[in-house]
Symmetry: D2
């Protein structure tokens, strides 16, 4: 009798250029990750970049999700905009549909939805906004998966809406005891050392739990590791995490694969 295969997904934000401007090294990241969160034109991305990113992801066998945001190009979706849950639902549906169409155009298929930036931060804690995200996704296509931050309102809202939910953790961020990410501006919030990130990821996968800064274990399913695509050593760290996972016997594959 053989042991069940261990699988894991690596996801990163891609397609984050706009018009003449580039961000990150998409071709390199697409060689490392198994799922790409593709910007939909509200915080980054435009129809040309989306088409190109979906085509490249298809070519490299990388699953794609709609990375939905507040409408805020100038602020890269990182600024909260006082929109009602209903307005957020409409904005999410709009972006998701646009992404589905351009994925279809490129011969690919949107497999999941993930919130970006300020929208993600709010949906982490605010059940009303998280429900808006999940409801919009379900209304457009109930077979889509919601990729949400583990132990957040995002994943709970996905379950409430009847969606498939994938739980993600961050290898390079510190967790507070309430399962929230330590704010970036605080010292130690972001782990920039590749070895440290690998160690943290391994600990969380072994324990099946978030490990907080005080050492608490918060049990959670873990379907995907989020890696960053736009920092200085993004590709390097992602490669390091991937190599470590392979070494530990994980098969890397999208969380939504058949």
């Amino acid at each position: 009798m053989t042991e069940a295969e261990k699988t894991i997904d690596l996801n990163a934000d891609l397609g984050e250029g706009f018009g003449p401007w580039q961000m990150g090294d998409d071709p390199a990241m697409l060689d490392v990750v198994t799922s790409a969160n593709v910007a939909c034109g509200f915080h980054a991305g435009d129809p040309d970049i989306m088409a190109k990113t979906f085509a490249l992801a298809r070519e490299k066998g990388v699953a794609v999700g709609a990375h939905v945001s507040f409408p805020d190009l100038a602020g890269f979706g990182r600024r909260e905009i006082a929109m009602t849950p209903k307005e957020i639902e409409h904005a999410v549906a709009y972006q998701l549909g646009a992404a589905q169409a351009l994925a279809a155009y490129a011969g690919h298929r949107i497999a999941y939805v993930k919130a970006h930036g300020a929208l993600a931060n709010i949906a982490e804690k605010d059940a009303g906004v998280a429900d808006a995200l999940a409801r919009a996704t379900h209304a457009v296509d109930p077979t889509l998966t919601l990729l949400g931050i583990a132990l957040s309102e995002q994943t709970r809202a996905g379950v409430r809406a009847g969606l498939n939910v994938a739980h993600e953790i961050f290898a390079d961020r510190a967790y507070l005891d309430d399962a929230r990410l330590q704010p970036r501006r605080e010292p130690g919030a972001v782990i920039t050392d590749c070895k440290a990130a690998i160690a943290r990821m391994r600990e969380m996968l072994e324990e099946g739990a978030l490990v907080t800064i005080s050492g608490k274990r918060l049990p959670t399913p873990i379907d995907s590791i989020c890696v960053h695509g736009d920092t200085a050593h993004a590709v390097e760290i992602a490669q390091g995490l991937r190599a470590a996972l392979a070494q530990d016997g994980y098969r890397l594959r999208p969380f939504v694969e058949g």
Copy 2:
């Protein structure tokens, strides 16, 4: 033996507000037309207005199409933008997908695609741009219909792409001998008298042909009559055309209905 039922469609541009701004009387027009060309956020419309318009159209049994445009809110899509056919394809797919998602969200379904403003004008004469429009539509969903100006590159491109094509005529515009619309700025180009519009429409339907300003007949299938939604007497003229069609024994129904 009974005569085959005569059917015809009336289409108008709707959902053309943006943010706090309104345009036209959508609820009144939705009581008259059988197909609504709904703005997709590039020349007018936003996710909230789209959701509202699709919901109202569904409620009133009106078919909906994605009214796609150059990205030009400030110019209402009436200004040509020097985009390549490939960029136009991506922009069309983006808008179409957004419309499909918000229609699904509202319990409705996009049945067709129609070009707006400057994009429509160019696609009327430029086979390359018309093909871009048709290709994008086909790539996103080959079961969609292309609603195009009768005897234009639009409808020819739809046929080339393997799409269902619906041919529309204008009751209130004068035609040149090459089947093109007389430019708006020329005297007589726009017919504002309701009776005159009705007479022209009847003549074209009877003849199965465009009737040009010189009296030429240009045979064409006629699936839909385009009525304007944003002029002073828009609703009145649309009602007049509808009444005349009913009187002539036409059943009004969307061209895409089962």
Copy 3:
């Protein structure tokens, strides 16, 4: 010995169309008010509408101010955007300069700055944001006046920055005891009866004070009465207020006139 002449200003928001969309009846309002708060393209207005509005205001002898906002056309500037005070300073300077140039182009001159929508609401209470507004104004042109809500952080910030400050009251809104406007959603917050609005305005002018819903008097200079331009009976109410002021012996003139 003659009594000193009593003067007062009436201000309203104008130039609030965008592209093909209109809002309010600007020509009618410009016959009533003495100061026009002109949208600068961030919540409404565009270069064409701005040029047209400044030209019309000049023709009618109406003073003009830059009505500055968060960058939010879709939300008409009514949604808070999480911008830093420094970002707000830059955004205010940008809009103010654009307005100055288009006023110059139209042969007019920007006399003052006023905050719009969510930016105004925040600057009413948040000294940091109010200071950003005042600092930006001063940096661009220290001779400009800041038109601010009476007894708010706006007017205090103007004083701190060394600007001329004009204090405005609302004839058609109820005041709380802390000098803030009662939120619109609460019953009685908005006065839609013209006679009631006139009576309230007279009471406040006579007392030289805001009169709150509990009957408290909060003394303040009063340089301008704000009237709304976009409600159903906007023009009518503005005309009623103007007639009442004239009857009471006020000369209507811009607060910034020589």
Copy 4:
């Protein structure tokens, strides 16, 4: 008796980031050029980037101009938009004013106006558009200089409008016999070799003429050399040109300096 001092200006496009996106190496270029054409938010740039760029230019003693464009962030102002001359006038005034205000905010002063991208290309040949550019500039501030392509409609329109005009040549582009730039897509249109660019520049300065690909000399005043800021070796080439000019006895200084 001493020989009159030879002076020349080097100009480059700067401040071409947008929101989170960067373009070029502005600090490095500001050490080389004497005039910076700063994007005004229509094709690139935003209020924050403008403020930062003006502050840095002031610090380094670099003159600044408003680099005005069609409203087209997604297309970086490189796509023609079918705007009327009147609409272009308004758009130019808007951008110029915004730039003046943010320059004032940063303690600097806009010295000139230059057209960018598609607007520049059209204004090179179309007298109507060139006049719109010059008229808008003159209306906002008649003391501003128009920096225009030598022997183009741009400089002629500046003269017609009564503006100071500065004539620029390109060291790294080939000229046709009608004084127009050879289209970029044609072989040889862009000179990427630093030595070749220096040689061409020297030849044109010595001759006081454009030197065309057929060897023709087209006499023109030359006030400024345009260098590119966004290509791979932009800084290097600019440094090479600057060093060559210094070697030839030129003092580098803004064309608008006292």
